[in-house]
Subunit: 227 residues, 4 copies
Amino acid sequence: MTDEEGEAGTATGVEVQPWIPFEDRRRARGRKKEAVLRMAVRLFLENGVHRTSLAEVAAALNITKPALYNYFRSKDEILFECCRLGREMYEAGIADIAARDGSGLEKLRALIRSYAKVITQDFGQCLVRFDDRELSPEARADIRRAKRRIDAAFREQIARGISDGSIRPCDPKVAGFVITGALNGIGTWYSPDGPLSVDEIADGFVERLVDGLAVRRVPAKAKVAEA
Amino acid sequence: MTDEEGEAGTATGVEVQPWIPFEDRRRARGRKKEAVLRMAVRLFLENGVHRTSLAEVAAALNITKPALYNYFRSKDEILFECCRLGREMYEAGIADIAARDGSGLEKLRALIRSYAKVITQDFGQCLVRFDDRELSPEARADIRRAKRRIDAAFREQIARGISDGSIRPCDPKVAGFVITGALNGIGTWYSPDGPLSVDEIADGFVERLVDGLAVRRVPAKAKVAEA
Amino acid sequence: MTDEEGEAGTATGVEVQPWIPFEDRRRARGRKKEAVLRMAVRLFLENGVHRTSLAEVAAALNITKPALYNYFRSKDEILFECCRLGREMYEAGIADIAARDGSGLEKLRALIRSYAKVITQDFGQCLVRFDDRELSPEARADIRRAKRRIDAAFREQIARGISDGSIRPCDPKVAGFVITGALNGIGTWYSPDGPLSVDEIADGFVERLVDGLAVRRVPAKAKVAEA
Amino acid sequence: MTDEEGEAGTATGVEVQPWIPFEDRRRARGRKKEAVLRMAVRLFLENGVHRTSLAEVAAALNITKPALYNYFRSKDEILFECCRLGREMYEAGIADIAARDGSGLEKLRALIRSYAKVITQDFGQCLVRFDDRELSPEARADIRRAKRRIDAAFREQIARGISDGSIRPCDPKVAGFVITGALNGIGTWYSPDGPLSVDEIADGFVERLVDGLAVRRVPAKAKVAEA
DNA sequence: TATGAATGAGACTTCATTCAT
DNA sequence: GATGAATGAAGTCTCATTCAT
């Protein structure tokens, strides 16, 4: 059904053919689906999924309610597609980092930055701010699996870092919860109009999470003690 | 109100009085309100506020739906009362700590511990897991104010710590978000049946947030640089 | 849930008790459910199940649509209850006849009469005129089972009649289909205002089905042959 | 229209003509209409008219929903055409028999056989299994007239049979209802995969309806009386 | 105080049908 | 002739809330 047949169609599009809005149609459809999702996710985030009726989504797009059903089978599906897009953003970041080299700490830093960037975007917030239970059982399972994979990615780098000496010995599970929890929080207060840019936020979070809050206790006495 | 526990009220019921005591009435009413809230918050957390109908709450309490309206004017009010109880728990902790002595870091540690303990309890999760927008405008304002006060408490101690040299120089706002975000996350995964006790969680979080993840880099050069 | 506790309640009702509309309530509820069913079945039969909205049923009863949901969980359930009442009427007739004595033919006559009487009543027509597939799977199974039992009752008496010599040797299945088919047809044309009374119809059907249409061929040869 | 069978049309297509033949066009159109009707009637019978959407019909034919509107103006019209085809089958049978000679009983036998054959076919079941009220007023009137004509045909032969001594004196209306009711019933249980062939069914029904169920009572007295 | 009943508002969804291409 | 998109009307059901008792 989603048989994306590559760009062959586009190629023929070069010779502007009169009776072939064929490929165009499909592209238009894709664009419209996307537009629906973008509007839906915005409204869902702004007003809550439950308090956003499909009528509102449709109205905001200047179409009628049943028109939405041309693109999606149900509200659930819309919600899930939003989440799926978010999921893919996280996963892309994780996959990218997994392919790189670096110590556990370095990769953890990269994960934090990547996650921070995703969660400042609409779709990225879906995984965190929408309630699993709104989804169909299958969709829910899908999303939950994704969340577990994300958690696992963090824990893995923490464990690696502990092994390679770049990260302090600690419980990777708790440490992971600290990190993802802190990052998820961003979704609740971040605004693109706010004073902090995404990069500043990402850097700030990396620094705080990596270095902690306490001043390094390396006073003279300590040095002696260490010596 | 939360501490009005035990069967004291029932005990006096021994001398079967026909026209039910004076003071008892009020206390019984209070106990019932409390029971409603305890059940409501549990169901709200378990299934989501929107997916929990008052009929379900009533049924779980073996009373009828309209009976709830004897104690609360609306679902909103029930929700707000839950949140208010949570709010009071946070505020009690904050007030307690504010009254103590200690460096910024010490008090921050205490705040983290206190917050962690509250957020592992049903009412404590209300502030975080329920959507503001479900509440009436006044209730919402009340809760938002409370959240700001809580944030402010963290930031204040961070700023104090920076001043008194116990905490690294950093943006207190970002640092506060890191901390409260991490702590709020607890509400999404904590289970009393889980492997970690509340105290273990609290300690773990304090440690990670305060000490960070990176191993302390205290090489010879560093010492020199600091000197 | 339908725990009709007999007429005990009515008995106590003699001493008019002030605070006990208790039993009354239940009876009123029962009466209302019944009223709903009676109105629903009438409209369903008159306009077709699908073309009868619950709004129409409610309006005809001078109540609002959701009020129906106090008594029934869904349109399906209303439909099923109608069918169930019909089913019980058939089964009562069958059970009654099963308890009597008589040859296969005599009992078959009684079955035909009984069936004819039921199918001239609203609820009796439900089994025949409503589409199985409108029902939930369970309800559907229930009704189909009932239909099979009814068919079986006819076939059983036909088979008995063949054995005891009161009925001609023939395929009981086909014969049963002839009979029940003919009887079911009554539901499509019978009207209480029509020229034929239920008894006349029943008698007419018994006669035609039992005696057939052809005049008895009893020519001289035949007599000899039989002699 | 129903007999326009085989691939004759396709065969002429061998000589690939660019601007599609003249007559072929109309014939192709006719074939497509027919295909739609055949699929529609099947689905209507299988799932019920109301529960069969035009989208399903179209999908089953590998065309799109609006394409159906090239051949039919509405769902009603499709339904009516199905019924009309059924009607014509019944009427053809009746006309055929009317043209023959024979006693009332003989013709009645023929009518029963004819009706039985029609009602085992998809289109033949339309008149009986679909609800009149689904049709437009005009279509409905047409179909109801047809039903009355069919009933009249049965009654006429019954009356003739009574006159010519081949059929027992009885109420032709009731007798007709017995017969058509029994025959209509076939539509509800007949399956081409079942154990009984159409002819066996037809014979069985003729026999049961004509001869009845009771054994012939030809006691000695009766003989005397007749003598 | 507590209850059964009732209500009004609103949500999601389906579908026959039309329109521009 | 055929398609994708869009629409309006309708239907079932849920739920917070109120009322009479």
